[in-house]
Subunit: 413 residues, 2 copies
C-alpha cells in the first residue's frame, strides 16, 4: 500500500465541486414573502423592475431658488440679476403649483420638485433676498443643482436580478421603487452534527483527556455569516451507531443540508462512515486539500451530507474551499467578490504536488507595501493559527510552493 493509503484516489477541489453540483440537483428551497426591511443577506427570488422613473420629475439637490437658467446668464457680483419670488415649493408638492415665467423664481428646499418652467437652482449663498425679490450673483448652466428625471433609474429598468444576495444598497433601491413586500428564498436549513464521545459541549469540572467542542462553533458561525442559512445544531453524539442513526434521521427530515464534524475517517471509531456505506453513498470521499483532506460528500435520503474533519482548521478549510462554494452554486448565487490582493511573502511555503493548500497568513502593512507572514501548513487542530492570522493564500495543485519574497494572491477571512 502506498503512503497515500485510504485516500489514494483523492480527487481535486474543482472536481469535488463539480461532482457535488451534479449529484445534488437542487435543494428544494421554497419561496416566501417578506418585508424589504428584513431582507438583509437573503436571496431574492424575483427580478425587480422599476415601476416609475426616479426621480419622477426635476428635483432640487440643494436649498435655494428655482430659476430659468436663461434668466441668469451673465449674472455676477458686479452685475446681479433681480428676479421676483413667486412663492415656496416644498418637497412632496406638485411642480404645477407654480409656472415660472421669465424674471421669476420660486424658493425650493433640498428634494423639492422644480416648478414648471424652471430648469436650474441657485443656492441660497449665491443670492441676496430682498423682500419678494432676489438678486442672483452667479451664472449657472441648465440643470445645475438639479436631479434630472430618471437620473437614478428609468421605468422598466432591472433594479435587482433574481438570485442576488441582498445587501443594504439592494434593499434601499427596492424600497425606493415603492416595493415593500419581496419574494425571497427560504433560508437554507442546515443541520449540524458533531460526533465523538470525547467531545464536550458543556463545561465540566474535570475535563481529563476529552476536548471541548470548538469545531462546531466555528462551522456554525461561518455558515451563519452567509445570512441566507439557518443552522440547527444537534449536539455532540457519541460514537454509537443506533444514536447516530436516530439523530441523522431526524436531522435529515428537518433540513435541506447536513454538515457533520468528525467521524468521517476509516477506523472502527468512524461510525458515520459506516452508516453512509449502509444507507447511502459517497459522492466523493476525501479531497486533495490541505488542510481538510477528509472533507467528503455523501447522499443520504436524497439529501447532501457534507462530512468535515473534527479538527477546526481542517473543517474551516473544507468549508471555505468546498462547502460554501457548492452552496452558492446550488443556489445560483454569485459568491461575493472576494478581493484578492498582492502581498510579499515573508517565508518559504512548500506544497505537496497534487494538493491545493490553504496557508494561513498574517497580512500587515509596512509603509506602502503589504506583507504576508505564513503561519505554516501543519497542525489542522491548531485553532490559534486562525486567530493569530487574518487571511490566507492558496497554493494550486501544480505548484511546489512559494519562496520568500514572492508576490502572492492573498485573501481575507
Amino acid at each position: 500500500m502506498t503512503s497515500t493509503g485510504f485516500y489514494s484516489s483523492l480527487i481535486n477541489v474543482d472536481r469535488a465541486i463539480e461532482l457535488a453540483t451534479s449529484f445534488i440537483r437542487e435543494l428544494d428551497i421554497g419561496v416566501e414573502k417578506i418585508n424589504v426591511w428584513s431582507g438583509l443577506n437573503r436571496i431574492i427570488a424575483e427580478d425587480i423592475y422599476a415601476e416609475r422613473d426616479q426621480p419622477c420629475c426635476l428635483k432640487s439637490y440643494v436649498d435655494g431658488y428655482a430659476v430659468k437658467a436663461s434668466d441668469i446668464q451673465g449674472a455676477s457680483f458686479s452685475n446681479p440679476v433681480r428676479l421676483f419670488v413667486k412663492g415656496l415649493l416644498k418637497p412632496g408638492e406638485s411642480p404645477s403649483k407654480y409656472v415660472l415665467k421669465n424674471g421669476e423664481a420660486v424658493e425650493v428646499y433640498t428634494g423639492s420638485p422644480l416648478p414648471i418652467g424652471s430648469d436650474t437652482v441657485v443656492m441660497y449663498e449665491d443670492v441676496v433676498r430682498d423682500g419678494d425679490y432676489i438678486d442672483v450673483f452667479k451664472t449657472l448652466s441648465v440643470y445645475s443643482n438639479v436631479a434630472q428625471i430618471g437620473e437614478d433609474y428609468r421605468k422598466g429598468d432591472l433594479l435587482v436580478s433574481r438570485r442576488t444576495v441582498l445587501k443594504p444598497q439592494h434593499l434601499a433601491i427596492i424600497a425606493s421603487s415603492g416595493l415593500f413586500e419581496i419574494s425571497v428564498y427560504e433560508k437554507i436549513r442546515i443541520g449540524l452534527i458533531c460526533t465523538g464521545s470525547e467531545v464536550l459541549d458543556k463545561p465540566v469540572n474535570h475535563i481529563d483527556y476529552g476536548v471541548y467542542n470548538s469545531t462546531c462553533i466555528l462551522v456554525k458561525n461561518m455558515v451563519e455569516q452567509l445570512g441566507f442559512t439557518e443552522i440547527k445544531y444537534y449536539g455532540t453524539i457519541p460514537d454509537e451507531t443506533s444514536i447516530i442513526d436516530k439523530t441523522l434521521s431526524k436531522a435529515l427530515s428537518e433540513n435541506h443540508v447536513l454538515i457533520t464534524c468528525g467521524g468521517a475517517g476509516f477506523s472502527e471509531n468512524d461510525v458515520l462512515s459506516r452508516i453512509v456505506d449502509r444507507k447511502g453513498f459517497y459522492v466523493f470521499r476525501g479531497v486533495a486539500l490541505r488542510p481538510g483532506k477528509p472533507t467528503s460528500l455523501a447522499i443520504l435520503n436524497n439529501k447532501p451530507v457534507f462530512l468535515l474533519s473534527g479538527f477546526p482548521v481542517a473543517a474551516w478549510c473544507g468549508l471555505e474551499a468546498i462547502v460554501i462554494p457548492v452552496i452558492h452554486k446550488l443556489m445560483g448565487v454569485e459568491p461575493a467578490f472576494k478581493p484578492c490582493f498582492k502581498t510579499i511573502l515573508k517565508r518559504n511555503v512548500p506544497n505537496v504536488i497534487g494538493y491545493r493548500s490553504y496557508v494561513r497568513v498574517k497580512i500587515y502593512r509596512v509603509k506602502d507595501e503589504l506583507y504576508s507572514e505564513p503561519y505554516g501548513l501543519r497542525g489542522s487542530g491548531v485553532l490559534s493559527s486562525l486567530v493569530k492570522t487574518n487571511g490566507f493564500i492558496i497554493i494550486p495543485e501544480d505548484c511546489e510552493g512559494y519562496s520568500e519574497g514572492s508576490i502572492v494572491d492573498t485573501y481575507l477571512y
Copy 2:
C-alpha cells in the same frame, strides 16, 4: 458670501473624527454575560486567558498505531519491523491506560491521546496487521502525526483580548478552552429617525411627488451589519417641531446614539437643526466630504446625534467616512482590516481641493489585472450608483484627482 456659503468653515474628515471622539467621552455601554455560541460579532469585555495547555497531552492526528519512534528506525517495505499490539486507546481515554515498552504498539484513532511511552503514530496504511501484531513498513521521526502538548496554546496564554469583535475563530478558541459564558458589551442601541413630510415608509396607491424612504433602510442595514449594534427605527416624522421634539426625546432616552436622515440643512424646512440650536449644540456642522457634506454631529441630552443627509449616497458616505469609524473608536475596537488593493483606473476622476471624495467604482478583473471603472462623483441621490458598483476609491483632500491609467487604492463595500 462666497460659494462655500453656509459650510464656509468646513472641517476635514480627520478633524471631524477627532472632535467626535473628544466630545463623546464614552457611550456608557453596559456589560452582559452571554453564551459563547451566541457571541458572533459581539465585542468581548474581558481578556480571555487559557486555563490549560491545548492539547493537554500528546494526541494523534491520524488513525493508526502509537509506537516508539526508536523502535521503527530503519523500517521499510523490504525490512518491516514487527510490534506487539497491546490494545486500543480511544479519544477521551487516559494516556496511562497503557504504558508502552520497547517492541510494543497501541492502536489509536484520530484525536486519541498517546499511551505513556509512545512518541509517534504510524498510519494504518503504513502497517499490515497480523493478529496481535503489526508489521511497520515506514521509518518515522519522533512526533510524526502527533499533536504536541501546548501546540495550540499554553496555559496562561492570552487567547482573545478585550474589545475584540468576536469572529467565528475567536468563539471557537474560547469554547476550546472550556469557557462557555463570556462577558460582552451590550449591543450599542442606535435610534434611527427619518425626517421629511414627503418621505413615505409604506406603499401608497398614488405617490405623486413624494419619495419612498430608501436612505433609512440603507443606513439601518449598514449599521446592523456591524453586528454589535441594535437599531430601532422611529419612522419618518413630518417637519413639525413639536412632533420631532417628542420623537427625539423618546429616542434619546432609549438609545446610546441617534442617527437622523434629512432635515439637517439650513432652510426653514430643516426643523432638526433648529432643535439642536435650541436644546443642544453642534460638535461640527458639515464636513469637507463628497458626497456627504451635510454630515454633522450634535449633542442633545449628553448623547451623540449624527445627522446624515437625506440622500442615500451622501448618507452612505457619511456613515463610511465618519459614523462607523467614530463608533469603532468610541468602543476601543480595531476596525476590521479593510483590504486596500490596487486597481487601474479606467477614467479620470477630478476632485475639489480641500474635500475628501469617495468615488464609487466597479472593480473587475481582466486576466491578471484589476481595473476600476468610476461611476462619477455626482448625484448623491443616485442610489443605482451603489448597486452598479462594488467598491470605492478615496481621493484625499490635497489631491486634484486621478487620471485614467493611475494605479489607485481601492476598497470593497
